[in-house]
Amino acid sequence: MTADHWGFVAAAYIVAALALGGYWRRLVHMEKNLKTPTLRSARRRSGAR
Amino acid sequence: MSFARRTFAVVWKDVVVERRSKETVTAVLFFSVLLLFVFEFTLGGDRDRLTGVLPGLLWLAVLLAGLLGLGRSFVLERDNDCWEALLLTPGDKGAVYVGKLLGNLLLMGLVEVIVLALFTLFMNVDVARAMPGLLLVLLLGTLGIAAVGTLFGAMTAHVRARELLFPVLLLPVLVPVLLAIVKSTDALLAGQPLGSVDHWLKLLVAADVIYVVAGLLTFDVLLEG
């Protein structure tokens, strides 16, 4: 009977999860940056240098 | 001014400029000779192996040398502030595209003649045996390369890191054309009849039609400010 290579199966699903999850985290991160103004943009808005 | 006359005007301008400066042709010639040396150094020891990879090497030389020329096809206009002149061409900008395309075809044709001559002389390749078929392959393949190369050349003239972006965009898109011409050249140089590469020729025709039509339709868009 052929070997099962569960290690590779796990690796594949983990890599997929990391890639898709990572992209999702990037989207969430971008959303957060847009919603709350960053310190730099706040300073610029208040006219300070 | 009719489409044909405007096209011819563009081609003639580029030919005249190149004839005066000889920049691109010289660079291409020296690059091809250099490639020849490198191929001989790395593969020359094993004559059989060299003969086996010759079609690929041939087209690699053409492509690399052509990249030099294609990437620069709009640099002249951009560097010398002539871009607006292109924009002001009356009527359909398609004439500019076709004109540049023909100019690039001439350039690549020249590269191919040089490389084929060098390979025939120094690598003992029997080109005559493959002949009228090889000419057809050359024509169809070069048209495809020039069609996309002209389009992307116009685009990348205005982009940061043009020298990086142009080959990155062009080469993956050209994979089908490359496969077709390398495989066809391989078969023809091995003495096979033209009919045996029929499917590759059909692919080249399809690719050429797609690229030229896409180019004609979208070139205007690239030329805008």
């Binding site: 070997a3 | 990155v168 496969l179 868009v221």
Partner: protein
């Protein structure tokens, strides 16, 4: 609205995992390593659908100059590249125990790799053009040429690998597959499709917010 899509997608992904590991049987010839196919194959289907969206949105943008079309193309291209990356990576991980090598220049892998690089180029064009409106136009042209090129890539690579050369490897994935395997594939496809749609929607919204903030 988008949030609901995300939740549904998550549920579907869980369902897909249940199918992959609970319902689908141990494959006869390959063993359990075949289960990688349940993420590998749907990923490329979703990616190619996304690139089809890029084609449509790019044409629409050049025609109408609607910024929404440009945003849709951009979002779809990003998501397509991510899913194609997943396909390539899981494919390599499947290939190592099955074929003994991480990579092989067979028709499918090579085609996918070329398409991957084409659309990386698409994203690069946007990044390297200073004027965003110009970047949108350039990207649209690259998107159209790139997407139209996909069938050419697949034909040429397939002919290169199969003509005058007997097929050396089994086709990856089930061929005359039992119903449970096909069902698992379908559920996972739906799951990844929903996930991809959620990502595209979210990215689209973010792009619009970015553009409005810059205005």
């Amino acid at each position: 609205m988008t949030r609901w899509l995300g939740i549904v997608a998550l549920v579907a992904v869980v369902a897909g995992l249940v199918m992959s590991f609970g319902v689908a049987p141990r494959e006869l010839t390959q063993g359990n390593v075949q289960r990688i196919m349940y993420v590998h194959v749907p990923a490329v289907w979703v990616a190619y659908l996304a690139f089809f969206v890029v084609l449509g949105a790019s044409v629409a943008y050049l025609w109408s100059r609607e910024p929404g079309a440009d945003r849709a193309a951009h979002a779809a291209a990003e998501v397509g590249v991510v899913f194609l990356g997943v396909n390539i990576a899981t494919g390599a991980i499947w290939g190592k125990p099955t074929w003994g090598t991480w990579w092989t220049w067979d028709a499918r892998l090579t085609s996918v790799a070329v398409v991957f690089v084409i659309f990386i180029g698409y994203l690069l064009v946007r990044r390297m053009t200073d004027d965003p409106e110009r970047g949108a136009r350039f990207a649209a042209v690259v998107g159209i040429v790139g997407a139209l090129n996909v069938p050419l890539v697949h034909f040429s690579v397939y002919w290169w690998r199969t003509l005058h050369q007997p097929p050396t490897f089994m086709k990856p994935g089930p061929s005359a597959a039992p119903a449970s395997i096909r069902a698992a594939l379908l559920v996972n496809f739906a799951a990844l499709l929903l996930l991809g749609a959620y990502f595209i929607a979210k990215r689209y919204t973010l792009l619009r917010a970015e553009q409005e903030a810059a205005a």
